[in-house]
């Protein structure tokens, strides 16, 4: 036999442990705590609330970081750093933009820092097994590998801007907001990046 749960006792539980049906209310609606509520609980010391926040937004963050990481270990390290930074800066989140945008900005900046830190390692990636055809008939994985190899030879800011504009399909305005650069700066960097990328692909094709 189930014991009825009173509203008073529910409110004393940590946010992650509360029943999802609004403390036994007859409402059929699922009462998912909002991001703002989870943030408040996290700031109040509830780690489980932060875990829920992470679970809700990790897919987006992993998607961004996976464009820059070379393997699962690197991906996990970058994502861990992103969410640790988010946790440490959570007090400064003012709720003017959705949490997802805020954490995406942290993710992009952390990925940029990662690119700068690992620049020398990336330049030595061999072209083994990658055919240099650039026709769209080639499969997606092949195109991704080829571009990944070529982009490892770009400057860090060029790689970041190409990733956001071309792979993540962000607008110039979104890219500017994520990177902290002006829109005209994003356009200039994107133009230079494309020129550099074409040159790298042409040179490698001639070899």
């Amino acid at each position: 036999m189930q014991t009825p749960v009173s509203t008073a006792c529910c409110n004393e539980l940590p946010i992650a442990s509360r029943p999802i049906n609004n403390c036994g209310a007859m409402s059929a609606q699922i009462d998912e705590p909002t991001d703002q509520r989870l943030i408040e609980s996290t700031l109040g010391g509830d780690d489980e609330a932060f875990a829920m926040l992470v679970a809700r937004h990790k897919r987006k963050v992993f998607g961004i970081a996976a464009r820059f990481a070379r393997n699962d270990a690197e991906l996990q390290d970058i994502c861990q750093e992103i969410f640790v930074k988010a946790y440490q800066k959570l007090k400064s989140f003012r709720g003017e933009a959705p949490f997802e945008h805020w954490v995406s900005r942290i993710a992009v900046r952390s990925c940029y820092d990662f690119l700068r830190a690992t620049r020398h390692d990336r330049e030595n990636v061999p072209l083994d097994g990658i055919e240099l055809g650039t026709q769209p008939s080639g499969n997606a994985e092949h195109a991704r590998e080829l571009l990944q190899w070529a982009m490892a030879r770009l400057k860090d800011d060029e790689r970041l801007v190409i990733t956001l504009l071309e792979f993540e399909e962000r607008s110039v305005r979104e890219t500017a907001a994520l990177t902290g650069w002006s829109e005209s700066n994003v356009k200039v960097r994107a133009f230079r990046a494309r020129q550099a990328l074409k040159k790298i692909l042409e040179t490698s094709h001639e070899r």
Partner: protein
């Protein structure tokens, strides 16, 4: 290579979404463990110094203001009053 070819290459590459589900598995548990470890570590000196910076800045401002005040008071005491100045001028003039 022209722009069109490059766009076609990007178009093809966009079809390959990076697979992250393996790395995502159990991520929250590892993250919370890492946060607990970070919280256990003592606050580094550099962080502590930055936190105390407003206090230091306030001390500098108060000390500067006090020093300026004291100096201006001493300057006022050392300078001659209007009457003293006339008497001194008369003395020099042989009166």
């Amino acid at each position: 290579m022209n722009d069109e070819q490059l766009n076609q290459l990007f178009q093809a590459a966009r079809g390959a979404r990076p697979e992250t589900s393996r790395a995502e598995y159990g991520f929250e548990t590892r993250l919370l463990a890492a946060l607990r470890e970070i919280r256990k570590q003592p606050t580094p000196w550099a962080t502590l110094a930055w936190r105390l910076m407003p206090g230091f800045a306030a001390i500098v401002v108060v000390t500067g203001a006090w020093s300026y005040n004291v100096q201006s008071q001493m300057g006022a005491e050392a300078s001659l009053g209007a009457g003293d100045e006339a008497a001194f001028a008369g003395l020099l003039g042989g009166e």
